[in-house]
Amino acid sequence: MAANALVEVRDLDMAFATGRAGGKPMMQQVLHKVSFEIGKGETLGLVGESGSGKSTAGRILVGLYQPTGGSVRLFGRDITGPDRRSNLAAVRARLQFVFQDPHAALNPRMRVGESIAEPIDIAGGRSRRDRSDRVRELLEMVGLPRDSAERFPHEFSGGQRQRIVIARALALQPGFIVCDEPVSALDVSMQAQIVNLLMDLQAKFGLSYLFIAHDLAVVRAIAHRVAVLYAGSIVEVAPKAEIYAQPQHPYTRALLDAVPRADPFRVRGPVITGEVPSLMAPPPGCRFHTRCPSAMGRCSVDVPRLRETLPGRRTSCHLYEPASSMELSDHVEH
């Protein structure tokens, strides 16, 4: 698995200084020992609530932040080690980012064609003719009319603007795209169009995606595997079918339970209480224990490790450790 991984993230730590207290800098630990990999043509969904660190992880993966610990290898090159500058430069063209707000991502005074051609110009080596052919080709690829190149972003709807952003991301034929909440700002009927477009492009070009989202239902449509972040740590990673059908970590279960269903007859379970803890002073032990309905004594003391619970599934919870197999049978039923 790791052999053909396009993206390999190992023990990623990220802390931001948020001020000083008593002469010492106060650090906010936004990511804590995060590890995952993404294979060629694979989509990893990264879900979590605000403050979980999911966007920070995405930014590190495209080289926008330098992590405070751990490593990131892209296309086999370490973009966090001593050779990070040359390695990042070597993979940069194959690396792209699609943000949440397509309005903010496009220069309002630049014609759409110019925006899409910008990466091509930076990479260089194309004639004028070649360049405009490529722009038209890209517009067609994302389902926009060819004459869109001459128009300005404000002439397009939110969904169409996101198509423009995707066209630009495809300009240099990337292998890996970080999509950070790409459909959250769109209406439901537009969301589906963009998600389907991303899936079609993946099938066509063998793209890999890190798909960051808070909406578990959207992630279910596009991801192959899903990683759940809570307060900076991955609590569970599993193939899509399994994590939605049989979530293991109590937080994953709570998150899935909280999603409103379009079914007025559903009887919902008890609502999870409390909020995500402060990252300046995270609770000891398991960071979720303060809200966990299954918390035991050791949860407030020992930090659980992310370990394989079933083939292809990893969960970080004391309920799933061999030593606590008794609790496992008690608690899993829920």
């Binding site: 209406d187 009927s189 379009a262």
Partner: protein, 329 residues
């Protein structure tokens, strides 16, 4: 037989001034809200759901908006035409509102106590001390732990979920008969959203008030509302009890909206999407405004804007083919 509704909206048409003249944002909207009702209004951007809600309290900027037609009846008054003084007495006392973004609704330089007290002192003439005591009670009521200490904090000290609880505390301070909640959980995480919806549900029962919940999310509507109004491009297209609507949607737009909602259960294959896009308010479309996107459109759909027709008791649909006798099947 049926008691008079609490609020009755009849043929509301709202227009806004643009560079190209007056644009119609909401047209011919009619519905009633009964005492203690639990109404959901669902629609995508530009459907007119927020414009309708703001019109009920006449909160649009004057000069750039106008009511081209319609009446909003409440307690024997037409809220669209009542003197400003009457409206000021109703806003926040009889009909209160909670918005999407609690941070921009709260004043960052006033404490929570100041902001809850303002309503109480204005509408109920309470003393400063009495208002403070009541503010603490209200924070308890919206389940903010340690209310006596929290009451003196400033909004920036609170999380998004807490801020929305404070907004709800302000809204219910005078025990309104109707609470309008416009996308109250859209900016919040799902777990906090579930907490806030549960709170609204409990408060509605405890205080016996009617709630009109506006959301773009059919899931939120399904979990909260007892009756649902679906809006599209400034019009009501369907109005039905929640179980009827979700079991058997009749309007093709309602069907499409339900089908395009990504689900956590069932087949996870390709998502359905309604073809085309939401029209601009100015766009000239002959007949039904959903027509160009509708897979079931017939010539009759282009002839005229269909009427909102009752196809059953409590179930109205604005679709010419499907409101014909036997057309819904």
């Amino acid at each position: 037989m049926t008691p008079a509704p609490l609020v009755s909206i009849d043929d509301l048409t709202v227009q806004f001034r643009t560079d190209r003249g007056w644009t119609t944002a909401v047209e011919g909207v009619s519905f009633d809200i009964g005492e203690g009702d639990c109404l959901g209004v669902v629609g995508e951007s530009g459907s007119g759901k927020s414009v309708t809600a703001l019109s009920m309290l006449r909160l649009h900027a004057r000069g750039t908006s106008r009511f081209a037609s319609g009446v909003v009846r409440y307690a024997g008054k037409d809220l669209l035409r009542a003197p400003e003084g009457d409206l000021r007495a109703i806003r926040g006392r009889d009909i209160a509102m909670v918005f999407q973004d609690p941070m921009s609704s709260l004043n960052p330089v006033l404490t929570i106590c100041d902001q809850i007290s303002e309503t109480l002192r204005l509408h109920q003439g309470m003393s400063r001390a009495a208002a403070r005591g009541r503010a603490i009670e209200l924070l308890d009521l919206v389940r903010i732990a340690d209310a006596a200490r929290r009451v003196d904090e400033y909004p920036h000290r609170l999380s998004g979920g807490m801020r929305q609880r404070v907004m709800i505390a302000i809204a219910i301070a005078c025990r309104p008969r109707l609470l309008i909640a416009d996308e109250p959980t859209t900016a919040l995480d799902v777990t906090i959203q579930a907490q806030i919806l549960e709170l609204l549900r409990d408060l509605r029962a405890e205080l016996g008030m009617a709630v009109m919940l506006i959301s773009h999310d059919l899931g939120v509507i399904a979990e909260f509302a007892k009756r649902v109004i679906v809006m599209y491009a400034g019009r009501v297209v369907e109005d039905a009890p929640v179980d009827v609507l979700f079991r058997r949607p009749v309007h093709p737009y309602t069907e499409g909206l339900m089908a395009s909602m990504p689900s956590l259960e069932g087949d996870a294959a390709k998502l359905y999407s309604i073809p085309g896009r939401i029209p601009d308010p100015d766009e000239a479309i002959a007949g039904c405004r959903f027509g160009p996107r509708c897979a079931h459109a017939e010539p009759i759909c282009r002839a005229a804007m269909p009427e909102l027709v009752a196809i059953e008791e409590n179930h109205r649909v604005r679709c010419a083919p499907r409101s014909r006798p036997g057309g819904a099947g």
